[in-house]
């Protein structure tokens, strides 16, 4: 096993329980915003999309796939964060 893969596996081993811990603490009140926030975060795949779309000397195919992927993940990022914020703005505690 290459050190790269080993390191990635360690990261995964630590990240999964961290995620489980963090999410278990979220109040059911906020489950919808939680889902739309994590949805926006999953669009971090934009990183991969940019790397594919912007690579020097790439084939036409991978440029096109990369650009479509950038469009798709940007839609996901923008709509995910905006709708989460729009929802959270509405949550308030006491009567005015």
């Amino acid at each position: 096993m290459s050190p790269e893969i080993e390191m990635s596996l360690y990261v995964l081993i630590l990240a999964v329980p961290l995620g489980l811990q963090l999410v278990q603490r979220v109040s059911p009140l906020l489950h919808t915003p939680l889902m739309s926030l994590t949805n926006a975060i999953s669009a971090i795949s934009v990183v991969g999309a940019i790397l594919v779309a912007g690579a020097g000397g790439a084939s036409r195919l991978s440029q096109v796939l990369g650009c479509v992927a950038v469009v798709a993940s940007t839609i996901n990022i923008v709509s995910g964060f905006l709708i989460t914020d729009r929802m959270l703005k509405m949550f308030r505690k006491k009567d005015k």
Binding site: L29, I41, A72, F81, M87, M90, D95
Partner: protein, 456 residues
């Protein structure tokens, strides 16, 4: 330059972890969104600074197009459409992951470990893409919401999945012929469609959570394929989140994952349900309801998907205000699977300006029903069906329910006696203490509000 993007990625990873941590309570939740946005900004800018990226023009145009589509989507969708929007958003994210995997495959023709990661990334990406589109269609009611089943369905689905996985294994083992990857892609896309077809609207909360988890897993797999730890961390957090939510949803319906995915809920119970529907019910007018409510001390409201459909949350807020002024305590009981996604009802009530400290989870409020003078059920059905407690033949037997039948008076606002989504009759409606309020939820609640002032 080498170090700049690495530092940016570390900042991004920290911000993303912080963003989920802060989301745990409503007081810090918006800070969480801010942290998430900062994390994403660092990830994108950091990536643009990497020396591998030489061609900026098309990337910037693509980002612009994406933002121009995403922003109106988030602002123009009504709050009741949040489940649809989330499904659509999943579809885009998953598509991005799958396309990146496809491009990587054609660029590097990898085998072994990298290919394993790529296979997982693309199969999850493509199937989540079509499954999310189908879920969107069902939620938007473009596609029939009733479960569509046929004989041998599970066999077909499983065979298809096994075929796709074998093609994947082939590509991992050795460079495969040119037809293999496109076939693998096609099978993954098809599997996503077939996965959602037998699933009904009532199971949507679980399914959306599951798709959320898949999208995260695809992202983490991409991290392995690209040796990018930021992707692994973000993907793993997301996969964990979706997984926990779907487990919570499954528990709230007393069903297993496999049962949700392969069970096709609506089919089983046709026989038992028709016998009861001839029994008499007590119906009441808005005036009667207003009279009882204004004399009550404690009222618990149970909202369900029907409230969302009728857009009754704002009128409900007016009713709450009017009753609170008269010294009546009004609270809201929210079942984990009420609505079409986890937490759906909370968002709608918050939209109507109902403070969140009046919304209560099932375990928290169930003991209080016995002391409530009125339990008002609006557009909920299966989550208040007492059959879940004692009728071993009922398909919802064992599902934890809100104990509305313990309240002094039960009021149910319902359009007609048609059974709810799952097609199960509800014995709650035939109890002596139950008053059926027939009509559209929104106008009925408005009528109750109108009838109230005359009484005080």
């Amino acid at each position: 330059m080498e170090q700049i993007w690495q530092i940016a990625y570390i900042v991004a990873a920290l911000s993303i972890i912080g963003s989920i941590k802060w989301l745990s309570s409503p007081a810090t939740a918006r800070r969480g969104v801010m942290a998430g946005q900062i994390g994403m900004l660092f990830a994108v800018v950091g990536t643009l600074l990497r020396h591998e990226v030489v061609d900026y023009e098309w990337i910037l145009i693509s980002i612009f197009i994406g933002a121009a589509i995403g922003a109106p989507l988030a602002y123009l969708m009504p709050m009741t459409a949040v489940p649809q929007l989330t499904a659509l958003s999943h579809a885009f994210g998953a598509l991005a992951a799958a396309l990146v995997g496809t491009a990587e495959y054609y660029k590097n023709n990898p085998t072994g470990f990298t290919m394993t990661a790529l296979v997982i990334e693309t199969v999850l990406g493509y199937l989540t893409f079509t499954a999310s589109i189908m879920a969107f269609g069902k939620l938007q009611e473009i596609v029939p919401t009733r479960p569509i089943t046929y004989k041998g369905q599970n066999f077909v689905n499983i065979a298809l999945l096994i075929f796709a996985v074998s093609l994947g294994v082939w590509m991992i083992a050795e460079p495969a012929p040119a037809w293999v990857f496109p076939t693998f892609t096609g099978l993954s896309l098809l599997f996503g469609v077939l996965l959602i077809i037998p699933i009904g609207g009532g199971d949507m909360p679980t399914v959306i959570a599951l798709l959320n988890s898949y999208a995260g897993a695809a992202c983490a797999a991409m991290g392995f394929a690209l040796s990018n730890r930021l992707l692994i961390i973000a993907g793993a957090l997301n996969a964990a989140s979706g997984f926990i939510l779907s487990v919570i949803m499954c528990k709230a319906m007393n069903r297993s994952f496999l049962n949700v995915l392969f069970g096709a809920f609506g089919q089983v119970q046709e026989g038992g349900s028709t016998a009861m529907s001839t029994k008499p019910v007590h119906s009441a007018t808005a005036e009667d309801a207003a009279a009882i409510m204004s004399g009550a001390r404690k009222i618990i409201v149970v909202p369900g998907y029907g409230m969302a459909v009728a857009q009754a949350q704002h009128k409900l807020r007016e009713l709450t205000d009017a009753l609170t002024k008269r010294g009546v305590e009004v609270r809201f009981a929210i079942h984990p699977v009420a609505g079409r996604m986890p937490g759906h009802m909370n968002v709608l009530l918050a939209e109507a300006d109902i403070p969140y400290d009046k919304m209560h989870e099932m375990e928290e409020i169930n003991p209080d029903f016995a002391e409530a003078d009125v339990a008002l059920v609006i557009g909920a059905n299966d989550v208040v069906n007492p059959a879940a407690r004692h009728d071993t033949l009922s398909p919802i037997f064992g599902m934890p329910i809100l104990d509305v039948d313990k309240a002094q008076t039960v009021m149910v606002i319902k359009r007609s006696m048609n059974p709810g989504f799952a097609g199960i009759d509800n014995e709650l409606y035939y109890m002596d203490r139950t008053l059926m309020l027939f009509g559209d939820a929104k106008s009925f609640v408005a009528d109750i509000v109108k009838e109230l002032p005359a009484q005080s």
